[in-house]
């Protein structure tokens, strides 16, 4: 039903706006605004804002090994890492560095998520906090290791799928490492009886290596 008189187009526009005006009182499609501070929408799992560092149990279990891959790959160059001087044993029992300083300048960070993507140790992940406004644009926007470190439980809470997958990979690696370690121990014990040098160390490092590359691939794929 199209009436074509002069001004018909304007009249149709009036009808349309009236429909939206009235519709806004009963049709949620026509009043789409969410009253933000009172109501917050549930974030999709994939949402990423700024990076954070995952630790197991507590800060001493920080997964980061200060390998500096993220620092290198960060397109905005907003990550600064200084290696610790002493190594600690990681979850695989391998002795690794931890970062002494791990700073991210979130004023510079553009939330691209490439750091999380390239991290071979499942350490750096993307957070979902978005109320980051501060009054000072310098110091409070530089997040230090202490602010960045968040528990694996938190990671599970915000990215359940990714976290479960990561954990299973890590468990797998750990199980392998443990069996290897047990085998090594057995071999050592055997070697003590019957000295026979070889495999053990190489096998161990290989297993870590494969797990790391597997993680890299996984990170790329996600």
């Amino acid at each position: 039903m199209k009436f074509n008189f002069q001004g018909a187009g304007i009249v149709r526009g009036f009808v349309e706006t009236a429909r939206n005006f009235l519709g806004s009182y009963y049709d949620p499609e026509r009043l789409t605004t969410v009253e933000y501070p009172e109501r917050k929408l549930a974030l999709p799992e994939n949402v990423r804002t700024v990076p954070f560092l995952v630790y197991d149990h507590d800060m001493s279990g920080l997964r980061c090994t200060a390998c500096k891959i993220c620092e290198q790959e960060c397109p905005a160059a907003c990550i600064k890492i200084i290696k610790d001087t002493v190594k600690k044993s990681d979850y695989l029992g391998k002795s690794q560095f931890q970062p002494q300083v791990f700073d991210i300048d979130i004023a510079v960070c553009m939330s691209c998520g490439i750091c999380a993507e390239v991290c071979p140790f499942d350490s750096i992940k993307m957070d979902q906090v978005y109320e980051l406004a501060t009054q000072d644009r310098f110091a409070p926007l530089i997040l230090h290791k202490e602010q960045l470190g968040k528990s694996n439980a938190y990671f599970h809470a915000i990215h359940p799928t990714d976290a479960v997958e990561t954990d299973s990979l890590r468990d797998e690696a750990k199980r392998k490492a443990e069996t290897k370690a047990a085998a090594d121990a057995a071999a050592k014990a055997a070697a003590a009886v019957k000295p026979k040098p070889e495999i053990s160390t190489t096998a161990n490092s290989q297993s870590v290596g494969t797990s790391a590359t597997a993680n890299v691939e996984k990170a790329v794929a996600t």
């Binding site: 907003c78 600064k80 300083v101 300048d105 110091a139 530089i142």
Partner: protein
């Protein structure tokens, strides 16, 4: 679509005084380009635009490239004191600025054809003819190349800086451009 050789031949046959050279792509799987001579460039461009077989009427993309002089070490065998020795010889590549145009045809729907022009050097002899009067689309893009690379387009009707401000002295896309120290940089990440 004609091959580069065919286009080159067509141009050389039909445009008097045209000097065209084929520049192969470093990656053989990708298309090469035609290097135009400064003197005949506008004529060649007009020919390419108008000739019925080619009709490159859409000049899609204009860009500059800076090729500063590089030291290339080549190992050559040389007779030194009667003994054949492997000697490293250092040669300097010529320094020049290059402008690349990518042409398409809306009529015959083919392309891209890449045209290149080179300046003699990166300092005073930084002139190439402007193709703005052949393809209007070059107007802003040539200004951009002038602004960022310092290529002077002769015959451009309105050659001013495009992105940087008029008082700016340098050409930021040149490889040897040193950005000024920003005071914001003084704030250390760990501060």
């Amino acid at each position: 679509m004609h091959t580069l050789e065919e286009i080159k031949n067509l141009v050389e046959q039909n445009v008097p005084g045209a000097v065209v050279q084929i520049v192969p792509n470093a990656n053989p799987a990708l298309a090469g380009s035609l290097l135009l001579d400064s003197k005949s460039a506008t004529d060649v461009a007009e020919y390419l635009r108008d000739v019925a077989e080619l009709k490159f009427d859409l000049c899609s993309n204009v860009t500059g490239i800076d090729w500063p002089s590089k030291e290339v070490k080549t190992k050559i065998k040389k007779l030194v004191d009667g003994v054949e020795k492997e000697v490293e010889e250092i040669t300097k590549t010529p320094a020049f600025l290059e402008v690349v145009y990518h042409l398409y045809s809306t009529v015959l729907v083919h392309g891209p054809l890449a045209l290149r022009m080179r300046t003699i050097d990166r300092a005073e002899n930084n002139r190439v003819p402007s193709l703005t009067l052949v393809w209007r689309s070059c107007e802003l893009q040539e200004r951009e190349v002038y602004d960022l690379f310092g290529v002077v387009f002769e015959g451009h009707p309105d050659l001013r800086r495009l992105l940087m401000w008029d008082e700016f002295k340098h050409h930021p896309m040149r490889k040897d451009y040193v950005p000024p120290v920003d005071e914001g940089d003084a704030v250390e990440v760990s501060a």
